[in-house]
Amino acid sequence: MEPLLSIRNLSIEYLLDRGSFEAVKSVSLNIARGEILGLAGESGCGKSTIAYAVARLSKSPAWIVDGQIVLEGSDLLKLTERQMQKVRWRRIGMVFQSAMNSLNPLMRIEGQFHDVLHQHLNTSREQSRDIAQKMLRLVGIAPQRLSDYPHQFSGGMRQRVVIAICLALNPDLIIMDEPTTALDVVVQREILEQIAELQKARGFSVLFITHDLHLMAQICHRMAVMFKGEVVESGDVYQMLNNPQHAYTKALWAAIPQLPKMRQERESILVTPIADRVEAKAAVPLPTVQLRNVTKRFEAFQALRGVSFELNAGRALALVGESGSGKSTVANIISRTFSQTTGDVMLNGKDLPSSLKARDEKAYRKSVQMIFQDPFASLNPAFTVRHHIMRALKLHGHGKDRADRNRRILEILEWVGLEGELTAPKYPHQLSGGQRQRVNIARALAVEPEVLLADEPTSMLDVSIRLDILELLSRVKQERRLAMLYITHDIATAYHVAEDIVVMFAGQAVEWGDALGVLSDPRHPYTKLMLSAVPDPASRFRVDNSAKFLKEAGRIRAVSRPYSEEIVQVGQNHFIRKVAESE
């Protein structure tokens, strides 16, 4: 059968001030009618560049050098701009990554439907409104909201609106460029289920671009994996999942953190042996950091509503939650970026004052160090790696003299898995993301702290290196006996680093205890919801589930939101906050 879209030998270059760079190297792909084709790969592999090229929306510096993009027999690259305008949206719709930014902020939703409907179908305002209402209903949004502006919708809702605008013209193909990457895992699940369902009902094709292979396995029929501008493998999703051929595909699969399923499997994934955990707990009676009933209020917004936990030497605690749950507020309170509104924060049993004096601050920094989310932004571009670590040593009086400090710098770089002599003189821009994050860790370790706060340390890194960094963090905690706080939105990774876990929602801890226990036997409805939304290649989306999931997710959020005093112990080291309505 003739494919709907056939990309043939497509080559795209990035024009540079001097010369050019081959971003896409002679890529060929076919998408059949009614098919969802997944295009996977890491940042910079060229997958988005292809997506933009298909709609002929390539921006500078991307320049299509060669190839064909054939939509049902006609080569899109041979159309004039005017002809192409008729193809766009009418036949090829698009959904972009940044949900927050993909709607015109000054236009009502209705207007954003009308301009495109009027352009292609020459509809009147009333006709456009009728169609728009139908489409909004289709994606589960009340039709009255047509007269709202984009800022009145949440990120997930905005993405739904874009999908609704897409469907209004019933296109043959919808290009989705990481449509849920910026969204929380539950919202992601809600939207993707809906896409799967609508696709089945209406029969359009999808070019689905993502870096998340598990997600891809859940929604796509076929998939292609890209590496440095080339498609290295493509085929049926199941076949590629069960029997990947190319080494890169295998590596990508292996790099994804898995949730524990069976007990044996769990043990094998664990980086820290169980025996160590017990011993660690027994050896340290006094918690290094202790939070007692901490709350935080920002003007009208209650960010934290009573959070308590402790960090112990040689152990890590994972703080898991969606954006806005308050998990970063906790990190900022412990790092003293700001202080809590009420409650106690203690370091080695001593209360911390609400604001630190300059001298106390330095002493505190010596005890508590932090690793940031963005490895590209957290090193000063003007200084070398050596300088960064040297400052950490000097400030806290480590090392006798310059030579001694230099020796330590090399030592510590080697320890975090970098080649010391080679890396020390380099500037941050000469390093990869993973290397920079290792330098960040090395800098924090150079201070020789007791506590390490890691705020989403892998979320900006490519999938293939995330596990390596997590493993390094595990080693840090274990060998250096640090008390570690690991903050993440990705509940699946929690298990790879942490012995303890706290699941947060709406400024309160809803479930906490032993990571093993919580993840394998979640008791709080919100934890269950979150775990069920984690992409799982073994369970494809069912096409009749979306409305049910959406409703259930909404219900669970509603019952989990109110602050509840009542805590229930459900296991030896496993607690939940009681919800008003029992399961």
């Binding site: 540079l16 320049w63 041979k78 963005d374 800098r443």
Partner: protein, 296 residues
């Protein structure tokens, strides 16, 4: 700085300024006559002896131009430097310290910013009587720092919240050192823009004030040259050279500084830049569109 030298526009700008500064620096040697002495008939058009003609008073315009460059440039540069220092310090302090210090400095900055500058200057100058170069420098500085302070403040706020600054603080760097070592170097392109913008502004303002008659008419500057030309109705009687010389001087300084500033602006805001790669892309895209259109 080395980047500037790779940009054609900036090199041209630097060259223009260099010529003017050389003229100004060596005015006593270069100027053929004294700027304040009658050396020929009144309103004589440009000739070999008087390459820019003469004024109504029979003074040599070229000599005045050269001496005028000396005082106009020195006042412009001095006031520009003063404005930049004041603006940078106020913006950096407010942006970095935050809290009530920032709130009050920001309030002051915005308040001075909305008071019309030239009428305020005129009022100050009117009460000060005849103002020499140093008074002009002082009053221009006192009224013109807010633009720079505003820019510096918002940039400081942006850099302050960059992760590498927070990270440096977390490692244990003091507030002061973080401001000096982590933030200030990142403000350099902006300070450059501010400096050049302030010099332009100072020269513009000085010229305007002097043209309106607030300067010391005995002190030869481009502004007083314009004032004297205006008073002798030079334009209406057709003695265009009398006006054209100082105008050209001011315009050339503006041109030179603007070309440098344009380049600095592209360094500070790379997203505004349209380098060779972009030009090539635009050209190729246009050519392809034309070819497709033709085939149809």
């Amino acid at each position: 700085m080395s980047f500037l030298l790779h940009q054609k526009k900036a090199v041209l700008g630097i060259a223009i300024l260099l010529v003017l500064f050389v003229l100004a620096a060596f005015a006593p040697i270069i100027a053929p006559y004294s700027p304040e002495q009658r050396v020929a008939r009144s309103h004589q058009p440009p000739t070999i002896e008087h390459i820019m003609g003469t004024t109504k008073m029979g003074r040599d315009v070229f000599s005045q131009f050269v001496w005028g460059a000396r005082s106009s440039l020195s006042v412009g540069v001095a006031a520009g430097v003063a404005i930049t220092i004041l603006g940078t310090v106020i913006g950096l302090i407010g942006g970095y310290i935050g809290g009530w210090v920032d709130r009050s400095l920001d309030l002051l900055t915005n308040a001075v910013l909305v008071i019309p500058n030239l009428p305020l200057l005129i009022l100050l100058a009117a009460f000060a009587g005849t103002v020499g170069p140093s008074v002009i420098i002082v009053i221009i500085t006192l009224t013109s720092w807010p633009w720079g302070a505003r820019m510096t403040r918002s940039q400081t706020l942006a850099i302050k919240n960059r992760e590498f600054v927070i990270a440096a603080r977390m490692v244990g760097e003091s507030k002061f050192r973080a401001a000096l070592v982590e933030i200030l170097p990142n403000l350099l392109p902006l300070i450059g823009i501010n400096l050049i913008g302030s010099i332009i502004f100072a020269i513009v303002t000085q010229t305007t004030l002097e043209y309106l008659g607030f300067g010391d008419p005995l002190h030869v500057t481009w502004g007083t040259m314009l004032y004297n030309a205006q008073n002798s109705s030079a334009i209406l009687v057709g003695a265009w050279w009398d006006v054209a010389a100082p105008c050209a001087g001011i315009a050339l300084v503006g041109l030179g500084l603007a070309l440098i500033n344009f380049t600095l602006d592209e360094i500070a805001n790379p997203q505004l830049r349209s380098g060779p790669a972009l030009s090539r892309w635009v050209r190729l895209t246009r050519e392809r569109a034309k070819a497709l259109e033709a085939k149809r």
